[in-house]
Symmetry: C4
Subunit: 213 residues, 4 copies
């Protein structure tokens, strides 16, 4: 005689958070490997070679801050989830696939930002590299918040709607950055940098329905 466990694929969120934290921490620390130390011939000047790498430092800082912000936000919204299930795990895996991929567009941006022929391609790819995680993030949120599926029971509806709007806004702005960089790479990059600065602002704390005594 046997019985199925109720909700066989629903679990607490601790493990998925720990695994995601691992991927965030590794992706953020691998970024430095994308900066190659110049191999100079005897007598060449190291200082000027290192200074010429400034697009690498710039893209390193930008991506480091972006992954750091996603890490913080990941904790933030998983705190709002009561549980996880198979579909959310897969969406989260897809999101992490794009986070772990970020070192590549970061290196491309560093290598080709100053190359006239290819700077448009480099910036567009970078904006795409930021658009993909924003889209999968939105999908995660829509799936989890739809009809309060996986959310904490007492979470305020207005607060949920506000986050939904905010995540739709991110996707819209990164899409704009992709389009803008096709016209002028400076515009696309400008949107990316400004969005990053915007995300540095403190998030508003969550609102809950008052529990009935």
């Amino acid at each position: 005689m046997s019985e199925s466990q109720p909700g066989g694929t629903e679990r607490g969120t601790e493990r998925i958070e720990a695994f995601s934290d691992g991927v965030f921490a590794i992706a953020i620390t691998l970024l430095v490997l994308e900066i190659k130390v110049p191999h100079l011939q005897a007598g060449s000047d190291l200082l000027s070679s290192l200074l010429r790498l400034w697009p690498d430092y710039f893209s390193y800082i930008l991506s480091f801050v972006m992954i750091g912000i996603y890490w913080a936000n990941h904790h933030y919204i998983f705190k709002l989830f009561q549980k996880t299930n198979h579909a959310l795990n897969l969406l989260n895996l897809l999101f992490l696939l794009f986070i772990a991929f970020l070192p590549l567009p970061t290196e491309v941006l560093g290598d080709y930002l100053l190359d006239r022929t290819n700077q448009t391609t480099a910036v567009t790819l970078y904006a795409l590299g930021l658009l993909f995680p924003a889209v999968t993030w939105l999908l995660m949120w829509l799936y989890a918040s739809r009809g309060h599926r996986l959310l904490e029971r007492n979470l305020d509806n207005g607060y949920v709607r506000q986050l939904t709007l905010q995540y739709f806004g991110s996707v819209a702005l990164y899409s704009a950055a992709v389009v803008a960089s096709l016209i002028d790479f400076r515009w696309g990059l400008g949107i990316c940098v400004r969005l990053t600065l915007l995300y540095l602002l403190p998030p508003r704390g969550p609102s809950y329905h008052r529990e009935r005594g």
Copy 2:
């Protein structure tokens, strides 16, 4: 006067899970390092060079999803284990050895999928790279489930048999992929991709004997 601790090498599974999670998270995040940014001469087109890397993106996604699925399944079966012992630790280490090795066949697949002379070798190696973890996974499960050695006491026998069949099936299908890729690399790759998609389906929750009151 001294006495031996009973079951000196048997332990809870928390630590082995934490260590395995670390290896999963690192292996999955290292995959991106296998994609090399092209070093172009002045005036060459970056976009076409990046597009030509599509086998790298393809193998990145395939291996990312595979490691992600193994991570989820690892948690899944270790939840069914009551404890671990020295032999299971060694089998798990062997399994992780093949997981940590996956970035190599992934890079080979990305580099040689379009090379007529070597695409058969590349796909066969990749199928082997997926067969090895499947075999060691089966060995882990057979060792742990044999006579319910390390399993939760109340786990349903039919459910255990079903998992055993499923893991034997994986080994059979990856073996078929290895053989098929020797005949036509498209067939081998097709089996690998389809198996990955199959694994994305939600697992059935475990069944337990009803506890006697």
Copy 3:
């Protein structure tokens, strides 16, 4: 009807510590990748090539110990914090940005310490690479300790002042190392090595006000 959670961005310090630990562990383990195994032509002597890499081993050890000490100190001061908030998270992220960046100046030091033209640049960059984390560390501490903002309630004022002085001292000494290496790289490197040895001394345990019975 909804109400805001009090202190919406203030949290316990467990997660920020876990994430920081991840970055420390990865950065410290990536250091070895900066040492390149020599690719010799047939008949060349491996031993002499490996011995000639001694500046790489030296910079590996120096940076390994520095990151290890920062890891220990990070735990140490986060034990003194009662909670964290958005601003401290950002300062910590900035600090980690420089920790994760350390493999680069480490490789530069290893590659160019013996290159007469560039050894001054290499050592100055390395001293800067140690100055940056020291400065952000000081900023973290000043922010958290200002008016006991985020500190444990009973922490002794004299003890807090002593740490403040010590962290100001670090910044002063690493600034001195930067200036000194511009004059003579041996002086700059000497200060860096001696500071590292100094940090190996055990820290004084924290002092608390006596709790009133």
Copy 4:
């Protein structure tokens, strides 16, 4: 009025274990990066190039198993420690420095095992790469077990002596491997492989004094 916390640098062992686990997991997963996928010219045979890399696979497996065993043993002896202090933290950091360094001698062994001119150097370096962690491991144990300084109170003296002997034995055998490889690299490598196989045997469980009722 203030008072010092008793034993200001003595702590529980959870954090040092978590940090060490991180370094073990990363070092073991980085090993695969030391194997370079061959870049072939059109028409060259991939299979024979991959087979010719067998010394790389061999050294990968050997080092993977070694780090895995050290990971298991690290948990094992830290279970016997009641607490940690500043000196033990530093000795552990030194031990981890050599664990994190292992990918280098592993790559050297893989690259030069078949190079007649340099195989002696490669194997001797590898044996040294295993001797260093064994020596620092012994130092950690001697420091912690001396007069039962940091050990669990009830640990049996005979059991402690047995471990001490065993760790001295490891150092002696790896020293023998270093000397042997200077004479004939096959002997040195043979000792390293056999020691690794020996370590795969299950450890004896710890013995404790019987607690007085």
